[in-house]
Symmetry: C2
Subunit: 275 residues, 2 copies
DNA sequence: GGGTATTTGTCCGTATGTATT
DNA sequence: AAATACATACGGACAAATACC
C-alpha cells in the first residue's frame, strides 16, 4: 500500500538481481511480459525499469531487451609514490599496468598552447592571460579507454630552454626527468585533488558512457612543485567512476596481498538510526 | 528532426541554466507553462525535466515547482598526514573543521560486536567468523550531515587489554593514542582506498539525498598498520559525492593559498577527437 | 539484400492522488 | 477549504533498432 506500484515492481526485480536469480548479463522479461506478470500498464513497468537504470542495475538495448548489467572489475590507481619520480606523463602508468600483465597504450600527446584560465590559472599560479603548454593524451588498457589526461606547463619553462615540451610529441623518459635534466628543475612534491562530477560530452564519447549521465567521472588534479615551492606542472586526469578506484598510502605499509576480488558483501554498518 | 522532442526541450532548458538566464535556485516555468511554450504534451515536458534531474541540474518539489539546483561549496578532506597521528575517530576531523570556523559535531559511537565478513575480513586479515568491534559515528558540520564512519578493530585488541574499545562510548584522546598508551601499539602507516558507489537506503536517508539514487557517495576505507605490518584498524567513511573532495599530498608541498572558490570554468581539454 | 516479427523509444491524452501554499 | 503543482497510472499509436528467416 505505501509504495507506488512502479517502486514495488522495481524492488522486486532488484531483489531478484541481488539474490542472483537474475544473473549478471542475463535478460529480463520483456516489457510486455512484465506488464502481464505484475498486472500493470507498460508505462508503469517502464517507470520501474527507469528506476533500475538510474541505479545502474540494468540497461536497455533497443530492439533486444533489458539486461542486468555486467559486473565491472575496477582498475586501481595508486596516487602516492616517490615525490620526485611521479612521471609527468604516462611513465609510471606504463610500468604499473604492464606489471599486471595488461597492455597499456597512450596516444601521442596533442600539444597546444593556450591562455591560462580557470583552475589552470589558479593551480599553476601564473598571471592571468599568460600562456601555458597543454599536452593531452588518451590512455587505454587492453584497448579499452582508461583515462584522459592533460598536463599544463607554464610557458616560462619553454622560454628557459625546455623546448621539447612544445616540440616533441613524445618525451620518452618522462617530462619530470626531462625537466630535471634540461633545466635542473626537481619535482619535490605534489598535491592531488580528487573529486567526481558528471562527464562532459567529450568524456562520455571517449569512455563510451551511457549518454544519460548517470555514470560520473573522477577528476584528479595533480599540481607538482619544485624546491622553491613553485608549481611546475598541473596534470588533470579523468577516469570513469564506475570502474576505477584509488589507493593512497601513508607511512610504513605492507604490500597488499592480491586478494581475489569477489562478493560485494560489505559489512553492515548497522541499522542506520539517523536520530 | 534529429533529436527527440524531449531532448530538444531539455537541451534548451540546460542552455538557459548554463548561460545563467535561469539562475541557481530560481524556479522554472511550471509543467503546464512549458507545455504551451514548447507545444508539447505535459508528459513530454516531464520527460525533459527527468533528463535534467538525472544530470543534477534541476530538482522538483511537489506542490511548489521545478527549481535550478543550488551550487554547492565542497568540503575538502585531506587524506595524507602524519602516519602515527591520524586519529582513529574524529580527532583530526574536529581540529580541521574548527580551524575553518565551522562547527563540527559527532554522535557518540555506537559500539557493536560483529562477526567479521566481507571487506572487514579481508582488510583486517582476521580469521573468518572471528569477531570484531565496530564503532559507528555520525558526523555533522554546522548541523549538516557530513559523513558516516565505522571503525572496526580486531577482538584481539580488547582481549589484550584495550577494554575501552567496547566500554567507553567516547575515547577523548582518540583511539590511536589510546591503543598506543594502553597496549604500546603504534600506528606506523595506513592505506586508503577510495571509490564511489550508489548510496544505500541508510545513507540516502542520513544525508538527505534524493531517493532517485543519482547522487553517489565516496567510500574511503582506511586500513591502519602497526610496526609489524599487522592491520589494527579498518575505518570506513562515507561522504556524499556531490559536496566533498579529497586532497592528497606527497613530498614537499607549499601550503595552499585559500583561493576564493568561484567559477567552474574548467580549462578546455580540447575538442575531443577520440580517433 | 529484403521482409517480418520482436522489443524498446517516443509521444499523446486522460484521470486521480498527494504535497504545498 | 481551495487552488496549484507535481506524482502516479492507465490507455493507445507510431517510430526506430535489432534479430532472424
Amino acid at each position: 500500500m505505501p509504495d507506488p506500484m512502479y517502486r514495488r515492481i522495481a524492488d522486486d526485480l532488484r531483489d531478484k538481481i541481488e539474490s542472483g536469480e537474475l544473473a549478471h548479463g542475463s535478460q529480463l522479461p520483456t516489457e510486455l511480459e512484465l506488464r502481464e506478470r505484475y498486472d500493470a500498464s507498460r508505462n508503469t513497468v517502464r517507470d520501474a525499469i527507469k528506476w533500475l537504470i538510474t541505479r545502474g542495475l540494468v540497461e536497455t538495448r533497443p530492439g533486444q531487451g533489458t539486461f542486468v548489467v555486467e559486473k565491472i572489475e575496477p582498475y586501481i590507481t595508486v596516487l602516492t609514490g616517490e615525490a620526485s619520480e611521479s612521471a609527468g606523463e604516462g611513465d609510471i602508468y606504463i610500468q604499473e599496468v604492464t606489471a599486471k600483465r595488461r597492455v597499456p597504450k597512450a596516444t601521442d600527446p596533442r600539444v597546444e598552447i593556450q591562455a591560462a584560465a580557470g583552475v589552470v590559472l589558479e593551480d599553476l599560479q601564473v598571471e592571468p592571460k599568460s600562456q601555458v603548454v597543454s599536452r593531452h593524451q588518451q590512455r587505454f588498457i587492453d584497448g579499452i579507454p582508461f583515462s584522459l589526461q592533460t598536463s599544463f606547463y607554464p610557458m616560462g619553462l619553454v622560454e628557459r630552454g625546455a623546448l621539447r615540451l612544445i616540440q616533441a610529441p613524445d618525451i620518452a623518459e618522462g617530462t619530470v626527468a626531462y625537466l630535471r635534466k634540461e633545466l635542473g628543475l626537481s619535482q619535490v612534491g605534489y598535491r592531488d585533488k580528487i573529486r567526481v562530477r558528471a562527464p562532459d560530452a567529450n568524456e562520455s564519447a571517449f569512455f563510451r558512457l551511457p549518454d544519460d549521465g548517470r555514470v560520473a567521472v573522477f577528476e584528479v588534479r595533480r599540481t607538482a612543485f619544485d624546491e622553491e615551492g613553485d608549481p611546475i606542472r598541473l596534470t588533470i586526469s579523468i577516469y570513469p567512476a564506475d570502474r576505477n578506484q584509488f589507493t593512497v598510502t601513508v607511512g610504513k605499509v605492507p604490500d597488499e596481498i592480491p586478494a581475489e576480488p569477489d562478493v560485494t558483501s560489505d559489512q553492515a554498518q548497522g541499522a542506520g538510526r539517523t536520530g
